[in-house]
């Protein structure tokens, strides 16, 4: 696994431990958490580009930020939506792309009629070596999105080395898929705003990896570091009170 992520997590966790001063009972609690938690491990972000499937609720745009945070900075992006996604979730807004290190001038937005066209467009995009990433959005569970379709995408992505994100909005069940990583992404309370305590700050997500080919499933808390253009994942703190304290302190600092 990628060494960069390993260091980031290890440096994050002790900082939280140092800055919080809860009673000793909680200390024990946390220790036991750390010891038996399967989650404390390097975040399972793929080292090389591959097909990643993201499941998101139909009222939650968080998965898009999670995908954008993993795309190389200022690259051409092919973004495909089927009709329902464009209607229900809106279309990408170029100006906001800069917040996630994207370049609105290099965005190509394709509006497909149905899932079949989305998959075809994504495959075509993978034939273009100069693209930085392909993002496809599919609403619900269409028939066209079957095992074979995902397999074609996954193999092509690995051959050409272009990151592919397939975002599934409003899918009730996760159908069979060859996606190398399958995440369920939901938004959680954002980081404190640096200047305005009442305003939402940098976004954060609760990300659950429920199927992966070469990593252990688990749940992480994700955030985006704009300066370094990097997605950082950390294990969530189990104790809600503690999590709140840590969040507050981070905001003060």
């Amino acid at each position: 696994m990628n060494a960069r992520y390993r260091t980031s997590v290890l440096s994050l966790v002790p900082e939280r431990l140092q800055t919080s001063d809860p009673p000793s009972a909680a200390e024990d609690q946390r220790d036991s958490d750390l010891s038996d938690a399967p989650d404390i491990q390097p975040p399972p972000l793929p080292g090389k580009p591959q097909l990643v499937e993201l499941f998101a609720d139909s009222r939650d745009g968080g998965a898009v930020g999670f995908a954008l945070a993993q795309i190389p900075r200022a690259q051409s992006i092919l973004w495909v939506q089927d009709r329902m996604c464009a209607q229900e979730m809106g279309q990408p807004h170029g100006r906001a792309l800069a917040r996630f290190g994207g370049d609105p001038d290099r965005l190509i937005l394709a509006c497909a009629r149905h899932a079949g066209d989305v998959l075809w467009t994504m495959e075509e995009g993978l034939a273009c070596p100069t693209l930085g990433a392909v993002i496809g959005e599919i609403w619900g569970e269409p028939k066209a999105l079957d095992f074979t379709a995902t397999k074609r995408l996954a193999l092509r992505a690995e051959r050409t080395g272009i990151a592919v994100f397939l975002i599934r909005f409003g899918a009730a069940t996760a159908s069979a898929s060859v996606a190398r990583r399958r995440w369920r992404v939901t938004s959680t309370a954002s980081a404190p705003h640096p200047h305005d305590p009442r305003a939402p700050g940098e976004p954060r997500w609760r990300t659950e990896l429920f199927r992966a080919r070469d990593a252990r499933p688990g749940t992480w808390e994700g955030g985006y570091d704009h300066a370094a253009h990097r997605l950082h994942l950390a294990a969530p703190l189990r104790d809600p009170a503690l999590a709140a304290t840590a969040l507050r302190r981070e905001g003060d600092g």
């Binding site: 809106g90 190509i108 497909a112 273009c128 070596p129 693209l131 954002s190």
Partner: protein, 487 residues
Amino acid sequence: MLARPGPHGPVIHDMNAAAAALGMTRGARVTDMRTLVPDLRVEDAEERLDHADLARLSHWCRRWCPWTRTDGTDGLMLDTTGADHLWGGEAALVADMRRAFTQLGLTVRIAIAPTVGSAWAFARHGREKVEICPPDRLAARLGSLPVAALRLDGNTVLLLERLGFRTITALAEVPRAAMARRFRHGTPLPANPLARLDQVMGRTTEPLVAAAITEPLRSLRTLAEPVTEPDSFTHVLGHLMLDLATQMEARNIGARCLRFTGFRVDGGVSAIQVATSRPSREPEHLAKLFENKIETLDPGFGFEAMVLDVIDGQDLALSQADLSGETDTGVALSRLIDRLIARLGRQSVLRPLGHGSHVPERAEILVPADTEMPSPAGSMAAEAAESPPPYRPLRLLSQPEEVEVLHAIPDGPPARFIWRRQTHRVVRSGGPERIAPEWWREKSIVRLRDYYNVEDSAGRRYWIYREGVAGDGRGGNPHWFMHGLDA
């Protein structure tokens, strides 16, 4: 009546007969003419298109003879030497021309004369609508025409008229030496009556140089047997494409738009068309664009001939791939755009384009991805570098959706809202960012918007706005709308 921009406001470019009857003159100012005729209908003149139309008309005139060209903004010249007998003599030729132009809805004055200059003179200044002047009567028939018929510019005509020369005869009777002293040898043609007179009388030659017509880029294949299978169309297309690519390479042209036509046995025609976002003559790439459309060709009982032609081409110089064999990044991307457009349609492959507006849905419009990129200064990245951009959500709903909001009276931030029949409790909210309506574009009843970026108790982030403030006199209580979702 048509108007074109002049130095002091629009001037009259041209007019119809009704306007001419009312006393309108070419070159007069439109405002002056409006005072005479208040209900004047004025349209903008499109001189470039007029000229293009005239050029096409001159090509069409090659039905009568091979040498044709346009003359000024409103004339055509044809060299009918050696062509008139094919139409049964000059009179029959002129009759056929009149018939053809009348069918097009055009009124014409036609003259046939031995020289270019005399034909011009008869067509524009002759007394009859149709004049045919045999060579032996040239001097006599020309003599009575005014000096303006000599293709001279306005100042020279004015000068000659002041000198008392009303007709060509009067001018021709002046001794040559006297004329030559006044209008020296080097004087340009439109200001030199002597040289013009020589041209009209045929003493100096004036050949009619026809504009060259560029050969259309086209490749044709007649088939030994009618074909009905899409597979064979693809096969034929491959051959035609190779041929066409060679032709295009010879002329340094790349195709922007191609048409593949099948000619059916029963006389019908079926065609498909593709377009590219930048000129290309790669056979494989172009053939791929036709891939999904080839089934829409309707062969009927079979095609007996197939044609591939370039409808629109652009200059494309020869280029060489670099030694590493890497393809140019722009080329690869534009090919991708072409392929997507061929399948999804031009209106479905878009790119965002910054637009000078504060209203979020107008600040960024989506244009077809094959439109030319704006200059770097106009791009959104350059715009963002100038000032820190305001908060915008990652996704914008195409139509803002009304939400029911609980908020502090009169204009507090939202505390709870119902969107799509579900209640969201707002935990944190930033803003408001006030965006005023664009009064120069919208009606006066449009209300201002206060945008809030809110986060609900589940951590989901939205961009909602209140339209108007209570008591702004533009409607009742303000309404709230959901406009965007954020990551």
